[in-house]
Subunit: 385 residues, 4 copies
């Protein structure tokens, strides 16, 4: 698939994760940095037919106006990006900025959600045609939404489309409007956030009907990554985990969003699902997400695991993870774009459970153990070859 | 293999690990505690023909005289064993104590090492006959020795046996005398320590000639266990580990032994081999083992990992492990006894690389990744069925 | 004041803190343990006229029936008390148990709160007379209550007493009923909990009228102790603290009580007051208290401090405190009893601000800096001599 | 003393600490940054007659040639200095660079150490005259040396000067040659490193004869600072510290120097003295300093404290300090310059024990408790007013 021009359309294209992914892609393309953090560059995935760095063209939606070069400068001040890289790719950033369109915002939008979706889809198809792209992968990296209430229309495509046409209703959360628009534009969709996005039966129905693959949800980049690596160890050693307590301190845009308990709820639910699946329900597992603005783009997570060994003796493990969230997420966004493009080219449809490796709350898979996810990823990717 | 009476002969039978294993076995047999920490009780190993808890008979060698019930009391004071369990199995401890014989000590021994080995072997065969055992697995849990100097006789069995016969030489370190005696008594051998033990070409030659399996070396129970779980994650995510620094604080008998830098050297070498294999040689990896007597049987290990992500941004992970070393080791000693007995019954010979799961420095295997070791263990064990 | 028989009356006499204090006192009296943790045994307080260990007689109120010897056994299982000590002082525990009376419980009580207070006061005066005590110090170590709503009667003793007489009202929370009863019985009062207790203008009025001293509130034994030690360092070095985040994991009775967010509120408020006073209001300071039952009597607190140094560079400090709460609290309960008895003997009245050293939320003092509190304690105590 | 032109002469003027101090001074002077980390700007020191930021003129010695602006750029890359600040003060850095002279290096020097000292002293007096300075404070921030062997001439000034004149001897380590030269030039001396420097009886004799004050030794900026803050807490609470273990991971120039065990020895000795003084000799206190180059200018220190509470129960405290060493040191270098200049102006001579607040191994004081040091500093400084 090298030399096949491929689009990456980012929902939230001016956010930290998006800006880091775009800057990094421009740097990789010019050989200014090694592909650290890019899973698709590992020898284990050699031979998989992926689009090259040069083949990727980027555009997206956002609801804020800050231009990408400025956003990247601010990330450099925050230690996410090296200053000299940002300077070196300033031209490329301006070019991508020209491909960013106004996203759907429920507060400012007038008209039905169907109108909104049509407009979003048109932005994407215009981009595809303008650049002569074989396909466009739409990736949601916009702000986390609160959990959406269940409504019957979410379970049935026909009912959903009737509701969408009603200008007095807003039956879908914005992330799902974005997913719907992507599918209507014939694009595979990746949900990197814990928002509802594509995870509704009606949208799954649409994806299958349109023969489109999708993947999600909520990029696994820090505390949860560690948990899915470590929890299986306790199991394999027959040690009894009694409690797994976690505190996450983060600043940045994500910290500000998650300060609102309603928004944090999605994230906490998404994190908790993994632990339950790995350790069972009888483990005490308090979990906190705190907005600590001065941390900027850094995130610190502390986990305390208490467990019992032979004859019931109590022991403990503590972890402190100090990461730059966007730097962990951005290469995965590029990896997912390449892998989902390849899956689309190979005719895969529906949820790509083999991409569970990348997600806190994997769609199409119940596997949370990281080592098993890794093996499954390699196996699946090699089948695309 | 249930109902096949099987011996467990412990070198260092009055040490912390041994005493904990013996007390635990007696408790398991009477249903006084669940088999937490016992890998052989996991569903994944169901169906493997292993001796039952009731089938195991214990004896051993040691060079100190403290009776097992007293040793167990002291471990209860140190939080390793519940007081009430020690009281409940006091009779059983006294019985095992009656099966402990004086080990080989280079300082007090007179005569050739061949004489010593004959005497040790006779202790083991006497035990086997007295209890009508189908086989005896010899497990070394004695104090860690300093690394032994290389001598040519270690590479050739015939030359070794000539040197052993010379009363003026002490060609083998005590752990290797024990291994030699075990093999001469027709017994499989397990090396739970980082000492030289069976890891000499001449002893491998003997084991193969006698058609005996063996396993080793250095039980993987704490910091190294975590490293072999976590290091593969960095690899799978294409993150670049730059340094992995470790400090181990421990008291107890093991702490006192490792206070001597010569003895610590074996342990540090054994720990380092794993990290090199997992991450390569260009990772800065300072490692310390400190004797902190007041910690008693508790061990605290702190690891600091610094790594680079996308575009070179620096991040870090810290781990603090607070464990009771003997409580982590003891169930593995029982697991290894059962698995090696089954391997012997099934005619396996030479180093059992499939048991790498249990060891810091696995004999017969170059696999250090814990998840791969786990899969290999399950696969191998099911083949014994 | 040695040889002056002095009473210690514990509200919550069967709780963890109380049981540990009682067991420890019995052990100290018999020379079975050194006075580790007892501030009043430091050379800096030599010469202060304090009652001796032999002079203290203990009784109290509680609302549960578990006998002290059983309670102490359970604490020994949890690692708070050495088993052999509990056995050694079993007789003494039974004797103290005979001096415990039923406390006031709003759910089971019938009649006015004035009736309840009369009954509680009678229990205390009966105890004082029965044992010929010069004075009785009443110390509240009962379960933390939720914050009490402000009502006008709390500000005026006459109004309060009118309301207390009304059988249809429950104008005071139980901790304040206990404080009121203590004062009516002519006893100094110590509030070791964050509950309302004596911290009401009307009760201060009563204490002054009765010429009684009192002290509080909320024993400072872990995370807050560290904060009041470390925060002044940042100030003295002109470093700018930006955030101080804390997570407390605890089990035991206190963990169970604080699981209820209403009860936790008092504790969180009491902890927060210190940090505000030390660092000012513009420091981000999320704080969590989680009930983790398997930790039993152990408490683990993690603090993450982010601060700015020269030219704005960000740095951080992390602390993990792993303590046995009751073992930290109990000697302070004995210290406070001795010091408040001495203050009463010396004619001190009202809040004893010089005891701020012992409390998270000191009554009668705004000083939170530990070093200053220490100096003030020594100065004040020497004045009693 | 505002408006009194005062020199700061840095030994090691191109090192990290020096470059950070110089850049910061230039920034403070232009109001580009607040004086975070500068103790002399605290209200407690208001009114002390100190030279202002504008009054300070900087020069120094070094043995490497990298120009200050380049050195500052590299520190900005390492996160020690903000890039925009370095750019803003580039002109000022170039000016200071013009005042840096070649230091004394034992390997390249030819002739007697007396010759070397004369040349160094001439550099300093030339600087003083050229800028019309009232006084010059010489501050040693050069690389840590190994401990120097004791020789009789160190105890007696006359004997020392005879040995210095002998071109075949090198009786003093470089830091002491620098101190000797400073005193001969009539300058007060500050030793910010653990090297021998001025801490020799013969140099103390010289300082007193010349009526010069001096201060040292080894700036207290991280782990030791925390220890002198926390250790007194354990004492004041009568808790029994059993072990205090420390691991320091650091990169940068200091990390490289301390990789050599001989050089590390001075640092470890200087750190250990404080702990012994605070806690006594029977505390187990292993201490490690590891060179971890990838950490760059960041330093991470982990301390594990185990202690006993009431009735002997074991508890622990862990600390992880993640700091930028030079950012912690630099403002103290400026503070010391101002305070020592004021002390000189006020006629103080000999070791300034009241500056113990700043040092790991204070000269002229046995006080290691940080709170007491703070009070003493304030008291002493106010006396200069
Ligand atoms: N390691 C990680 O960084 C990580 C891991 C997992 C998930 N995530 C998720 O990725 C998302 C992005 O994180 P971030 O740190 O970049 O956050 P951010 O706040 O920096 O960026 C989010 C962007 O989304 C935009 N946006 C908001 N609503 C929109 C809408 N309706 N349409 C289009 N754009 C919209 C915002 O304007 C903003 O530019 C979050 O949901 C986060 O939870 C991140
Ligand atoms: N988690 C763990 O506890 C763990 C993990 C890996 C390896 N190990 C290894 O297991 C071994 C035992 O550890 P421990 O904590 O029980 O130590 P320990 O000091 O309590 O016990 C060692 C015993 O070996 C005996 N011994 C010494 N020399 C002997 C000889 N020549 N012959 C027979 N007996 C001899 C000693 O007398 C002692 O009773 C150590 O080598 C340790 O490194 C332990
Ligand atoms: N380090 C510490 O342990 C520490 C520090 C500061 C404050 N405290 C406070 O000390 C108190 C006791 O802690 P604990 O761990 O012993 O708790 P606990 O739950 O073990 O004991 C509390 C006791 O109070 C009794 N009680 C409840 N309501 C009562 C009433 N109305 N009258 C009389 N007795 C009553 C309970 O029955 C129980 O026996 C708590 O409020 C806690 O917040 C403890
Ligand atoms: N927090 C801290 O940074 C801190 C705290 C306490 C002590 N110190 C001490 O401060 C000193 C400087 O630390 P740094 O991080 O700046 O180290 P650095 O290696 O960056 O700088 C040391 C400088 O000294 C110069 N130098 C070496 N020998 C010299 C000589 N004979 N004459 C003149 N210059 C010479 C070197 O060329 C180098 O430029 C070290 O001794 C360190 O131990 C630093
Ligand atoms: Na191997
Ligand atoms: Na001193």
């Amino acid at each position: 698939m090298a030399d096949v021009p491929t689009g990456l359309w980012l929902i939230g294209a001016r956010g930290s994760v998006a800006t880091t992914a775009i800057t990094g892609l421009l740097a990789l393309r010019r050989g200014l940095a090694p592909p650290t953090g890019c899973v698709t560059e590992l020898p284990e995935l050699a031979g998989v037919p992926l689009p090259g760095w040069d083949d990727l063209v980027v555009g997206g939606h956002d609801v804020v106006g800050t231009a990408l070069p400025e956003r990247a400068e601010r990330l450099a001040d925050g230690g996410v990006l090296p200053h000299r890289l940002v300077e070196a790719v300033a031209g490329g950033l301006r070019a991508v900025d020209g491909e960013i369109r106004a996203g759907y915002h429920p507060v400012t939008h007038r008209g039905s959600q169907a109108d909104a979706a049509r407009r979003l889809a048109a932005d994407i198809t215009g981009f595809r045609e303008r650049h002569g792209l074989a396909r466009v992968v739409v990736v949601n990296v916009s702000s986390t939404e609160p959990p959406a209430p269940d409504v019957a229309e979410h379970d049935d495509l026909a009912a959903l489309e009737r509701a969408l046409a009603d200008p007095e209703r807003a039956v879908l959360p914005p992330s799902s409007v974005a997913a719907y628009a992507a599918l209507r534009a014939g694009c595979p969709f990746v949900d990197f956030t814990p928002s509802t996005g594509i995870a509704l039966p009606a949208l799954d129905e649409l994806a299958r009907r349109e023969r489109l693959p999708y993947a999600g949800r909520d990029g696994k980049t820090g505390e949860t990554l560690l948990r899915t690596v470590l929890a299986p160890m306790f199991g394999a050693r027959a040690l009894r985990v009694r409690s797994w307590s976690g505190t996450n301190l983060l600043g940045g845009g994500d910290g500000a969003t998650l300060e609102d308990p309603a928004h944090a709820q999605s994230k906490i639910a998404s994190k908790a699902r993994g632990l339950d699946a790995l350790l069972g329900k009888d483990v005490t597992a308090p979990l906190h997400i705190d907005n600590v603005p001065d941390l900027g783009e850094r995130k610190t997570a502390w986990d305390h695991v208490s467990f019992e060994g032979f004859l019931g003796v109590p022991m403990s493990l503590q972890l402190t993870w100090t990461g730059i969230d966007s730097a962990l997420a951005a290469p995965l966004v590029l990896d997912l774009t390449r892998l989902v493009a390849a899956a689309h080219a190979a005719g895969r449809t529906g949820p790509l459970g083999a991409l569970a490796f990348f997600f806190k709350d994997p769609l199409g898979s119940d596997e949370h153990r990281f080592a098993e996810q890794t093996r499954e990823l390699y196996r699946w990717a090699q089948e695309l070859a």
